[in-house]
């Protein structure tokens, strides 16, 4: 016999699993109170989460909002995307990730850790409807907008800017109050103004529009322009109370034929058949080789076809052809006007005023941007021409292979880049190496060819042209016909943005800096060093220089090498933004010669002035016709031809003995 209490325990022993289960169910939530806070919050509103409806979802969201947990946004996103499942045994929620076949991996909503893999039949997918999902999305935005992480707050703000909708206005307004960071706060306020200007109503909207005055950003101006959009309408009389942008006068603002066609399109008058319509109608009415009694072969003029139409008209087979007077009367009977899509005149007036106030600033910034572009183009021209300023400007050698030295420098940069990892280091190696390579090539060319042709300057053109095409083909044979990349280091990749209108890429700034450095270096060499002194002496009077103990041969060789070396170094810079091909030099040669000639042969400052003039001129012409760079180049070359008529010796003409001839 067992003791009584034990017997009683045995009697209830079959209930033990149940007890265990009950204990587990009570214990498990108590565990998640410390380690799974989100799960606990959700268990508190389990039914509403599992079967969400538009009516019940605010309770869930406010509970989540109050808890303010880190894992909430990820859960909300998953919930809205229908990726949340509930395990029926314990009612816990998981994020499900689809595995192979019907397998589903359950992910803990708090920790993001994988919990178990089950089949999709073991869990219940929660499917919120569209209404619920939009509520969730709004809550998500609210969460992100006031997230503790500034990067996520910025991301949320930009997300609103990308796809604005009126529902975001209150969210944004609420988020501004809590924003600690002044920069993000300013961004949010601006975005709020833009959203209010677009979707708001009444005085609030007008205030927002007025706040946008002076904002040169694309977003702000885009909203203002959108408010000012019009549609073309017509009516017997100007409608009362309509917000009308302008009334169109027929014959001045709108072509009478087009006005008539607009009436016809609205079914107010019969359309006037065009040439094609007449032809098609006649084609459809050919009988026995004639239309309306006129033989087909005579219908080769407009008048004959019109006559045939009239004949058909008399038979009632085609609609009557409206006369000029009828058309005019129909058009005169109505008013054509452009009407704002926005009905409130106060709004459009405010928008127009705001847009007008930005016009001057926009113009100024556009001019600034244009100047920056022109400056960068001028730097490129300068870089291309500066080597020529020495070989052609100082030595008067027409070096048609100058462009190939630029190409050689660029290919040197490419080869160095393939050998040395790290774009910064390889660039630092490539610049002096390109100088060395092209200096050597220049010296070799001077010794072998040009030295023999100093008395025949025009023939250096032929010989160097021969070298030019030979070098081009050699480069093509070695490196192949395709373009080779010369990649700039990362720190040169971005752009310096002043605002939405004016910006310049960093690489162009670097090229500008490089052009300035080259200019200073060259001026220093020519004016402050012994070599420069001797170069100037030899170019002005070789005989006298020689009698003073200068070796003209050596100086000519070094000068030519210097000019070629500078071209090669410039080639690395040019290769950074243009493609490195065997023909790249040929693209620069004609322009480089023009730069030197326009600037004034024999003067480094002249080349600078020439590059500046050509760069600004080309950008200036492009401004009138932005789509067509080719046209700008054409006009620029024509201008240069005319310019040389009036200043044949260029902008900075040497005077006296230095001018030589």
């Amino acid at each position: 016999m067992m003791p009584r209490p034990i017997r009683a325990a045995c009697r209830w022993a079959w209930l033990l699993p149940l007890w265990l289960m009950l204990w587990l169910m009570l214990w498990a939530p108590s565990l998640s109170a410390q380690e799974a806070p989100l799960q606990q919050v959700l268990q508190g509103v389990q039914a509403e989460v599992a079967n969400p409806s538009r009516r019940t979802v605010p309770a869930v969201l406010s509970a989540l909002m109050d808890a303010d947990l880190e894992a909430t946004p990820a859960f909300l996103r998953a919930w809205s995307e229908r990726e949340v499942v509930q395990r029926p045994e314990d009612g816990l929620f998981f994020i499900a990730r689809d595995g192979e076949g019907r397998a589903v991996t359950l992910i803990d909503i708090d920790t993001g850790a994988e919990v178990a893999t089950v089949t999709s039949r073991d869990v219940t997918q929660i499917r919120p409807n569209a209404g619920v999902r939009s509520e969730i999305a709004a809550a998500l935005v609210r969460f992100e907008l006031s997230s503790p992480d500034p990067a996520r707050r910025i991301a949320a703000t930009e997300a609103i800017a990308r796809s604005p909708d009126p529902g975001q206005i209150p969210l944004l307004r609420a988020a501004i109050g809590e924003e600690p960071d002044p920069a993000i706060r300013a961004r949010k306020e601006r975005l709020l103004a833009i959203l209010t200007a677009r979707f708001g109503t009444g005085p609030e909207r007008i205030a927002a529009i007025e706040a946008l005055a002076g904002d040169v950003g694309t977003e702000a101006r885009g909203v203002l322009n959108q408010i000012l959009q019009t549609r073309s309408e017509h009516a017997p009389a100007l409608p009362e109370g309509a917000n009308i942008a302008r009334v169109l006068t027929v014959g001045v603002d709108i072509d009478p034929l087009r006005a008539h066609a607009r009436l016809a399109a609205d079914g107010l008058v019969d359309p006037r058949p065009g040439r094609t319509a007449i032809r098609d109608a006649l084609r459809a009415n050919v009988e026995d080789g004639a239309v309306g009694g006129i033989p087909v072969h005579q219908l080769t003029t407009e008048d004959a076809r019109r006559a045939a139409w009239r004949a058909l008209e008399a038979e009632g087979r085609v609609p009557p052809l409206p006369t000029e007077a009828e058309m005019r009367a129909a058009v005169d009977a109505v008013v054509f006007f452009d009407r704002y899509q926005e009905d409130d005149p106060a709004v459009t007036d405010a928008a127009r005023a705001a847009l007008d106030s930005t016009r001057t600033r926009v113009g100024l910034f556009q001019a600034l941007n244009l100047s920056l572009e022109a400056l960068s183009l001028a730097s490129i021209f300068f870089l291309g021409a500066i080597g020529l300023a020495i070989t052609f400007g100082v030595m008067r050698v027409i070096n048609m292979a100058h462009g190939e030295f630029i190409m050689m420098g660029a290919y040197t940069g490419y080869v160095v880049q393939t050998l040395i990892p790290g774009h910064t280091l390889s660039l630092a190696v490539a610049l002096p190496l390109a100088f060395a390579v092209t200096f050597a090539a220049g010296v070799a060319m001077e010794r072998l060819v040009i030295r023999h042709l100093y008395t025949r300057p025009l023939e250096t053109l032929l010989a160097t042209f021969g070298i030019s095409i030979a070098l081009q083909q050699l480069a093509k044979n070695i490196f192949g016909p395709q373009a080779r990349p010369l990649t700039a280091p990362d720190w040169l990749a971005g752009a310096i943005r002043i605002n939405d209108i004016a910006s310049i890429s960093t690489i162009r700034v670097a090229i500008f800096v490089m052009a300035v450095l080259f200019l200073l270096l060259l001026l220093y060499i020519l004016n402050r060093t012994r070599l420069g002194l001797e170069v100037r002496a030899v170019t002005q009077n070789p005989g006298m220089a020689a009698s003073m103990g200068i070796n003209p041969d050596r100086i000519n060789m070094l000068t030519f090498g210097l000019g070629s070396g500078i071209a090669g170094t410039a080639g690395v810079a040019i290769g950074l933004f243009a493609q490195v091909t065997s023909e790249m030099g040929a693209n620069y040669i004609v322009q480089s010669f023009m730069t030197v000639v326009v600037g004034g042969v024999g003067s480094v400052f002249g080349t600078l002035a020439g590059a500046g003039l050509i760069g600004f001129l080309q950008k200036g012409i492009e401004w009138f016709n932005p789509a067509n760079t080719l046209a700008a180049q054409t006009w620029m070359v024509l201008f240069i031809i005319l310019f040389i008529q009036f200043r044949p010796r260029g902008i900075i003409a040497l005077k006296g003995r230095a001018a030589g001839d």
Binding site: I398, V449, L458, E459, L471, M594
Partner: protein
């Protein structure tokens, strides 16, 4: 110069007779051997190449007169050549397209009106550049006489205006070369634009089909153009030989040698230079008008500055200051170029390296220019002088 100029030319330049005789024999030989009317030994495409070479020779002769005799290194004469080609190409393309359009429209139940034909033709020609309007410069494209006049007028007027501007402000030597190169560049850039009215990058094509002779086989058309080219070269050579002989020739050679001195002697140097520049431009235009119907296509790349430099190099290789030198230079270099780059030359396998001539020809050509400039400043024509002296 009281005696007839014709006799004086031949007396001063016995080479003219030799050249005429050689040209005549060559033309006869090709006519007999060609497919069109003769034995068929020479293919039609080769006849076209030879005819085109004759046109290039005429262009080189013009270049020689302006550079070798008058000392103006123009880097724009290939542009004038191209303009002549464009002028005739406009008629060829328009007239042929109009014929095709009429044929297709005639299939309809009602015959087309003139306006419909013009519209459809314009749409057909300019569809590639996304337009269907006929630009204003095509106003005369329907008329052969008008376009033939433009072949002469467009290069002539351009050269006249440009030369007047340039010579008036005493732009000489290297500067003039660069200025003419700038003109060529501006023209090429303009033609590259789609809205230039000349089909931009696509250029004009189908020029080998001659309207009014669409049923004539190409072998016969090739012969017509070959004869026309030979005739043009013969007449052009004769005309230039006459120009460069006598007093006029002496003056322009003197301008080449010392411009200032000629001016101080009281000659209107600018007038002489302008005349030579314009005349050679007109001849270049005519040569182009004969060349491009044989080539079949013209596009802006043909007008690019590099083509004009090549032209100067041909003349330099052939020998400046002698007309036959220009002909030799143009014929030799252009025929060799097309033989090598066209894959005509057999590749040589060295075991360790395979010499592909299409890859190496340009290198050889470039180095050849350098060697000729350095060691044979008188070019191939200089060899004749040497032979004559030896005798």
């Amino acid at each position: 110069m009281a005696d007839t100029p014709r006799r004086s030319v031949l007396r001063d330049h016995p080479s003219v007779l030799w050249f005429m005789a050689l040209l005549g024999v060559f033309t006869l030989a090709v006519s007999i051997l060609a497919e069109g009317f003769g034995l068929g030994v020479i293919s039609t495409s080769l006849v076209k190449v030879l005819g085109m070479t004759l046109c290039l020779c005429l262009l080189a002769v013009a270049m020689d007169v302006v550079w070798g005799y008058c000392g103006i290194l123009s880097l724009g004469h290939f542009a004038f050549f191209g303009l002549g080609g464009y002028a005739i190409g406009m008629w060829l393309m328009y007239a042929r397209t109009e014929i095709l359009v009429r044929e297709s429209l005639a299939a309809g139940t009602i015959p087309p009106t003139e306006a419909e034909v013009a519209e459809a033709t314009a749409a057909q020609i300019f569809g590639v550049v996304g337009s269907s309007e006929l630009p204003a410069i095509w106003s005369f494209a329907h008329s052969l006489p008008a376009q033939l006049a433009l072949v002469v007028l467009v290069p002539g007027l351009l050269a006249l205006v440009f030369g007047w501007l340039a010579f008036r402000s005493r732009v000489t030597g290297v500067y003039l070369s660069i200025l003419t190169q700038a003109m060529t560049l501006a023209l090429a850039l303009h033609l590259f634009q789609n809205d230039s009215g000349l089909r931009g990058n696509n250029g004009l094509s189908g020029l080998q089909n001659i309207p009014g002779a669409l049923d004539v086989p190409q072998s016969v058309i090739a012969m017509w153009f070959f004869w026309a080219s030979a005739l043009a070269l013969g007449l052009g050579y004769l005309a230039f030989a006459w120009v460069v002989s006598g007093k006029f020739g002496s003056v322009i050679r003197a301008i080449r040698d010392n411009e200032a001195r000629v001016r101080f002697l009281g000659y209107n140097v600018e007038g002489y230079k302008l005349f030579v520049f314009t005349l050679t431009a007109v001849i270049a235009g005519i040569a182009g008008a004969l060349y491009y119907p044989q080539a079949g296509i013209i596009n802006p790349a043909q007008v690019a500055p590099i083509a004009s430099i090549y032209l100067a190099v041909w003349v330099a290789i052939g020998g400046r200051g002698r007309l036959y030198g220009a002909v030799i230079g143009a014929a030799v270099v252009s025929l060799l170029s097309s033989w090598f780059t066209g894959g005509g030359a057999p590749n040589i396998d060295l075991g360790f390296y395979r010499i592909v001539w299409t890859d190496w020809w340009q290198v050889i050509l470039g180095l050849g220019f350098v060697l000729v400039t350095l060691f044979f400043p008188r070019g191939i024509g200089g060899l004749f002088d040497w032979l004559v002296r030896k005798q």
